[in-house]
Symmetry: C2
Subunit: 518 residues, 2 copies
């Protein structure tokens, strides 16, 4: 059957839906029109999401250049609609009308997004595009050859563009503020610094102590043969029991795990499989399912509007890390799931629960962030956060980045990367212009610990978690985090949910309990 | 990792590509502008193709309603651009310019498409949309319950709309002409009738004789256990050796096999698997790979323009049937591939080549078209083609369709469908408004035989085919069919390639050789 011709027929069938999709009411005509426009923009963005998801999962390699053109067209359409006169007029009109708190939150975010989108001139957008395109290719080659000099001129250019964007967007204290706002709405760099500073020394000493304590646990306890199809069975059972709906989502395989939302009821998770250790795919999918549960719990009636979106990466990462680490690496969880894992992988029968827990919670210093354990992970982030700020503030030159990275890594970890591929070249983010992103990983860890500890004060939730029953926990998260969408800024959300803004001590206490007291 | 946020970065990276994608030259500015516009339309259509492919392969069921909205938006955008004033002006301007034969062919097709797109008023498009939407649901229920009365009022409405469309589009002899033009450019119903009429009696007697001869071949010769993963190994090896590039395509699993083009270097094939008979998925994928080779061989420089597209379903189907039947069911093919199949499925060792060939070329009358063999297939098409024409011409009323179907089926096959689910309700096409489509299946069979027989006059191609080496055959098809795209209308293409227009006798002779002389 030749589908392209038959779609001609399908196409006509969809026109009526199109005609009736967006409605208008009369109390707040400008707001309604604005919502209509933004839902259209969101629909186009999610269409691009489908193309990108396919590109990461199934697309044959020959498809790349045409796919880039399609994504380019969609991004151009999004930009055109977002910065159009009619969008601005609807926004201005809506700001003259009045509505409830959801209305207000949507307007707050739409104004913020509009201002940012229109502050960048087209020539800068194009320059940025070319620089990231060339930057990614150069980074890829530089990492492969472990030769920073290949990437250095591109990083210089990307930094200059990032500073220019920051100047155009504006900031209170330092350029990082302006970039951070892409990922962590309402956060100031100085606040992040102060949260980090309070615990950074203790994080380092805790990591050091955790690594020393783990020396008695052999590194290869879990080594074995785990057929991928069997891993998929276990992963799916667990993720389903967590509450992730496979009617509204699925799991695929990629080189780098991620979660993406292709529609309000279509959330895709991905993971990768090591045949010699099943925990890589499992903790990967627990992490992504944490993101996925958040996306599945966003307020449906606000779909396509800011309030219908996740509020920040620091909150998003709190959900993934809560399920991956606080739930997924806990004793109660494995009291339930280790017997099932042993059924599927019989050679795990040689391990008792204590040994298994020490194996999955083993700390060891390592060069690569994405392979690091819970105890040492934040040290990687702190290093990069500090370096990024200084690069943006002009306090450190690009040519000095490798030496600075290695020196700080030696200071934090007591060992020096053997080459730049294991040092400052390891992550893709800078080459994509993703400056300001990294700090949200550690904010997420802090928020995760704070939220999880807070829920454990509720006797019903705590009792259920102790039996590895997570419905009450999920319901609490749905009510207090997921269903809020972006109605509250991240720190207001944390205060409303837990009674305090992000407080790193909960994470520190968790690490001490897990790694030093166990 | 949360991809939705990171795509913000990707998005910016694509803007520069966007800006430089379409170029202008100065000799034929209107034509260049027209091509630019049409490439944009094609890009959006192929984007919808990705969404539809995902819907058929991987989308969780909850995704359906939002996906429909996305497809609706894309179809609205396509319709808007296709019928815009600026498109019309570019078209009219280009018609004042002059160029080579490719230029002329593109203009011929663009004018044809524009005229058809603009002849349908929006209200009819919407009525059609609603009718097919309701029609598909009603058909699905009607087939499940085998109750034609559920579908009858919808078919009445769909017929009325089809007639209205035909009147608006215009035709020379009868409404079927106007509908057929969606699938078979340049064909007139009377020509199809005359091609069919010449051989219809002989097709029926040949099918009858083939079924009688096949009575000596047991129906269950190939029954066995064929693990899907092993079927996939064999299928991929064969399809790759045929010349289908997996750098530019892939195979996935769906309920109904199809081929779709997501980009010029991204052709997706699908098939379905029966665990008790490997030939279902294999012949399915040979068929779809035949479509796929055509798509992979279209002229790359004409991508996004009419000449860069396949010319008709009757030509498309000729490619799929040529590989499925003329190549894939031949003795030479299995001289090579049966030993390999026996390696993968050892229980096939019990069959020798002759027995195996009689099993895969076994004819038996059956009620369901998509399950029927090569010898009886066209009888199903002839029946439906005749009925459709009479329905469109008002010679038969909807309420009389089941009885007419059964009577004609009895006449053709000597047996009466036990219920309408095995009769006039078996196919989805009418419920989607797809009237005029069916005759192209048999045109495809005729063209396939004619093309294959013609190539066998070339000693080099014939010698290679006799050794199951298909590179010379593919190169001939690439040069004489694929690379032509839509530069010639189907019958001109057949004449240029084989020296005569579609001639059903080649197919008839092929069937006699295969089923009666073997």
């Amino acid at each position: 059957m030749q589908m392209n011709r038959l779609w001609g027929i399908f196409f006509m069938a969809y026109d009526a839906i199109n005609a009736s999709y967006f409605y208008m009411s009369s109390d707040t005509p400008c707001y309604d029109s604005l919502c209509h426009k933004n839902r259209e923009i969101s629909l186009i963005s999610k269409t691009a999401g489908i193309l990108s998801w396919d590109q990461e999962t199934y697309m044959p390699k020959g498809g790349i250049s045409y796919r880039a053109k399609q994504l380019s067209w969609l991004s151009g359409k999004v930009h055109e609609l977002r910065t159009s006169d009619s969008f601005r007029k609807a926004l201005e009109g809506a700001e003259e009308e009045s509505g409830n708190s959801i209305y207000t939150a949507n307007l707050r975010e739409l104004r913020h997004q509009y201002n940012r989108a229109t502050k960048l001139p087209q020539c800068l957008v194009e320059k940025n595009s070319e620089a990231t395109s060339l930057g990614k290719a150069a980074w890829s080659e530089a990492r492969e050859k472990s030769d920073f000099s290949i990437f250095a001129p591109h990083l210089t250019e990307l930094l200059a563009i990032a500073r220019e964007k920051a100047e155009l967007w504006g900031y209170d204290d330092e350029p990082y503020d302006a970039l951070l706002a892409d990922y962590e709405r309402g956060a100031k760099t100085s606040e992040v610094v102060s949260i980090f500073d309070e615990v950074s020394d203790e994080l380092a000493t805790t990591a050091q102590a955790a690594c020393e304590k783990s020396l008695s646990t052999p590194a290869d306890l879990l080594q074995g043969h785990y057929p991928i199809s069997d891993q998929q069975i276990l992963n799916r059972e667990i993720v389903e029991e967590m509450g992730f709906s496979f009617d509204y989502g699925r799991i695929d395989t990629t080189a780098h795990p991620f979660c993406t939302t292709l529609g309000p009821k279509d959330i895709r998770l991905t993971t990768r499989y090591l045949e010699d250790n099943f925990t890589s795919s499992l903790f990967g999918i627990l992490h992504e399912a944490g993101h996925g549960l958040y996306e599945q719990g966003l307020p449906a009636d606000q779909n396509g509007l800011p309030v219908g979106n996740a509020v920040s990466l620091g909150i998003h990462e709190s959900q993934s890390r809560l399920w991956e680490n606080h739930v997924g690496r806990s004793r109660a969880f494995w009291e339930k799931w280790l017997p099932r894992a042993q059924e599927i992988f019989p050679h795990l029968n040689k391990l008792n629960l204590d040994t298994f827990l020490s194996a999955i919670n083993r700390a060891e210093k390592s060069y690569i962030r994405v392979e690091s354990d819970e105890a040492t992970y934040d040290l990687h982030i702190l290093l990069r956060f500090g370096l990024e700020r200084e690069m943006l503030n002009g306090k450190i030159q690009v040519k000095d980045v490798p030496a600075a990275w290695n020196e700080r890594f030696e200071h934090l970890m007591g060992m020096t990367p053997p080459d730049d591929a294991h040092g400052c070249l390891q992550d893709i983010h800078w080459s994509m212009g993703g400056l300001g992103y990294f700090s949200t990983y550690t904010l997420g860890n802090f928020n995760a610990a704070q939220l999880y500890q807070h829920t454990q004060k509720d006797a019903e939730i705590a009792a259920a978690c102790a039996k590895a029953q997570y419905t009450p926990l999920l319901e609490w998260l749905q009510k207090n985090i997921h269903a809020k969408g972006s109605s509250l800024l991240p720190q207001d959300l944390m205060r409303a949910a837990t009674g305090e803004a992000t407080n790193a001590r909960h994470h520190l206490e968790h690490l001490k309990r897990r790694f030093l007291e166990a």
